[in-house]
Symmetry: C2
Subunit: 422 residues, 2 copies
């Protein structure tokens, strides 16, 4: 084994390979070569005996969290407008705030604060909506790159049904999108561009067709919103009576299936939509905080999982009020209890391992081999000082998810490197 | 005005007199004499001009939070056992943990940690279940007294349907209760004893009758649990087929109406129970986190408020996973959305002012004139450095409730005095 490139970390390791159960090793070792995990073991073999070990004692080592859906341009609105449903909330709080990102100084100030808060919260990878502004989105790329976190970042497209102060013309929207695709195609292994139509109501057919052509030409992934709230769904049906369902509108433009896609929310999808999701590699970003805050409903997460659809967790700030995916994981567990109590008594509540899987490997799959401590996976990890070492590792993790403090997270690694606030 | 006793605090003041709206004064003054508020005003009059002012600048001054229901003896279990419903959760996690408080060294260690965490979370008054242990409960009284917070503390009574390692005989249970009543009757204005039968299933008729006699003889308030979970309610019906409803069992012993009472949860109360609650001065401790965690349901809070029943918020640790009443207030808002979505579409969601009222003046009423910044109210206050002064005070408070950090709480006052970790 070439010793120079290998780093060895020791601690109380816990992660999920599959949703149904935890893998855990007390006082185990993770061998990392470059950005990837080479081996995970209970004991080191002879060849490692003289190598340097970073020993975290009885602290927990867990995979970094993955946030599959959030709006960086809404960071300053955290916790505001929580007495409204989706459409009035957009109009009163969200659109006015996003429009401020025309000012690059404001953008730099807020995005710097956001990037540090994201890193501090224990997220190592995220799929981000910026705003429609080109310069501000470039600033966000720079800052995320500096941080060492992994991300897909999208400049938002919106050319109809939007306020005068936050709208673009179709041609410019497409040109700007191609600019980002080209600029960030090969600039970083960790930070990439993602095509980001806001949602069907704000995107003309011309815009959607153009974005689909770009997705096809450059094989770029796509993110958007889907079936969040009944008011929104009715609006989509009014705008597109020709389509059977909401996801069908995206699909008819050909924007799905060129590369992978993330659809946020998926609270009210029908079985036909589930079929399209399976065929077209659509990930569900489950956003439990946002779905309660905006009275949207409760997504049938277990049904998606049982159908083999990839699911991860999204903070959806600022429809969601909490940036921490740890806290959103507790909310995902609670949302499954609400779903079981009120929507379908036959749908079992999520096990802690299932929710943790969604928050790590489930969403991590969108980035490749991310979110687990298996061989060949990128080493994204958090070191947790939970002061609970008298309990079992599974209990410690559950207690951290529900009741831990962000200050319990002592160190953070992404793709093999330690990352720190910028 | 006798200047020597008066303290003047200046800042951005926000509180609720009534549930329906906030009262706020930017850059306002609160004049405190001893433990009580003498005056609250926008401008100081001449008589105050030369008095010293503690100026908190544009930080918020809000009432301290009131926690109407929590189990100090379950503090170490925070976030554990969240995959179980009430009865198996008690058996697997709660009873074994509470039994450890027989060891006074363990009790002192955990209670010290608990008291500091409670204070840090912004709670200034609380209604506390200790455990059944006499010495450990005395330790908790000492520590809460040292902290300067206000509290009702109860030694738990349980003499049936409990594990061998956590049960007492009836006589001793009553003797110990009388010991606490006498010892703490006049020992402190802030920290008092409350009679605490665990819940009907663990208390024999003899015990309940004895406790009722003590409540009557000494005019001591009572706390217990009511109609939390369907499994529990069915059990009460089996044990007491003679009674129409759960609250009726408490009532027939004569334990209600001697002084005030707090009943935790009240998720599934019927209209007859609501009538008893009105007549017998029963406060509802609404515990939204716990009720989701243990799949108990969602309490009809708005219905209680409309019926003129006093309601406050309880963290119910460790059925609840969060000690902070600020966070529980966000959950109360969310629980009202769940209730509106799934239980009764005609029941409006709580306004932010309503939820904040419950968390301050609503629960505060159990302590007298507590939880508001009106004249003659005791001065319980938190100084919040929310760094959001560009927003309106109502927006700032909403944002703090949903998304603020506990570290935003810079200073804490209870009954006119600043309180700090011990």
């Amino acid at each position: 084994m070439a010793k120079d490139n290998i780093k060895i970390y020791k601690g109380d390791i816990i992660f999920t390979k599959t949703p149904d159960k935890f893998e855990s090793i007390e006082g185990g070792y993770i061998l990392v070569e470059g950005n990837k995990i080479k081996k995970i073991c209970r004991e080191l073999d002879e060849s490692c005996k003289n190598m340097e070990i970073t020993d975290f004692g009885d602290k927990m080592i867990i995979p970094g969290f993955v946030d599959l859906h959030l709006h960086a341009g809404q960071f300053r609105n955290l916790g505001l407008g929580m007495d409204k449903e989706l459409l009035p909330w957009l109009e009163t709080y969200t659109f006015p705030e996003e429009s401020k990102f025309q000012d690059t100084r404001y953008a730099r100030e807020v995005y710097l604060e956001f990037v540090n808060a994201l890193l501090e919260s224990g997220t190592t990878r995220s799929v981000i909506f910026a705003t429609l502004h080109k310069e501000a989105t470039d600033i966000l790329f720079d800052l995320i790159n500096q941080s060492g976190m992994g991300a897909f970042i999208g400049k938002v497209n919106m050319d109809r049904n939007s306020p005068d102060y936050l709208i673009e013309n179709t041609e410019e929207s497409l040109e700007d999108t191609e600019y980002f695709i080209k600029k960030y195609a090969n600039s970083s292994e960790l930070v990439k561009f993602i095509i980001t139509p806001r949602f069907i109501p704000t995107c003309s057919s011309e815009l959607m067709t153009g974005l689909a052509e770009l997705a096809q030409k450059y094989k770029v992934p796509v993110q958007s919103h889907l079936s969040e709230n009944t008011g929104e769904i009715n609006w989509v049906h009014e705008l597109h009576p020709e389509s059977d369902n909401y996801l069908g509108v995206y699909d008819k433009y050909g924007i799905l299936g060129q590369d992978s896609a993330v659809m946020a929310h998926c609270v009210h999808n029908d079985n036909k939509e589930i079929e399209i999701m399976k065929k077209k590699r659509v990930f569900v970003a489950h956003c439990p905080t946002s779905n309660i805050n905006l009275s949207s409903g409760t997504a049938p997460v277990k049904k998606y999982m049982d159908n083999g659809i990839d699911v991860g967790i999204g903070s959806d700030i600022s429809g969601g009020h909490i940036l921490s995916i740890k806290d959103c994981t507790a909310y995902a567990l609670q949302a499954s209890k609400i779903y079981n109590m009120y929507v379908d008594k036959n749908s079992p509540i999520l096990k802690t391992s299932e929710a943790f899987y969604l928050a790590t490997k489930g969403g991590g799959k969108f980035f490749g081999k991310v979110g687990s401590f298996e061989e060949e996976y990128e080493f994204d990890a958090l070191i947790i000082n939970d002061r609970n070492a008298d309990k079992s590792l599974e209990e410690r993790l559950q207690s951290f998810i529900y009741s831990g403090a962000l200050s319990d997270i002592e160190r953070r690694f992404c793709a093999g490197k330690e990352i720190k606030k910028i």
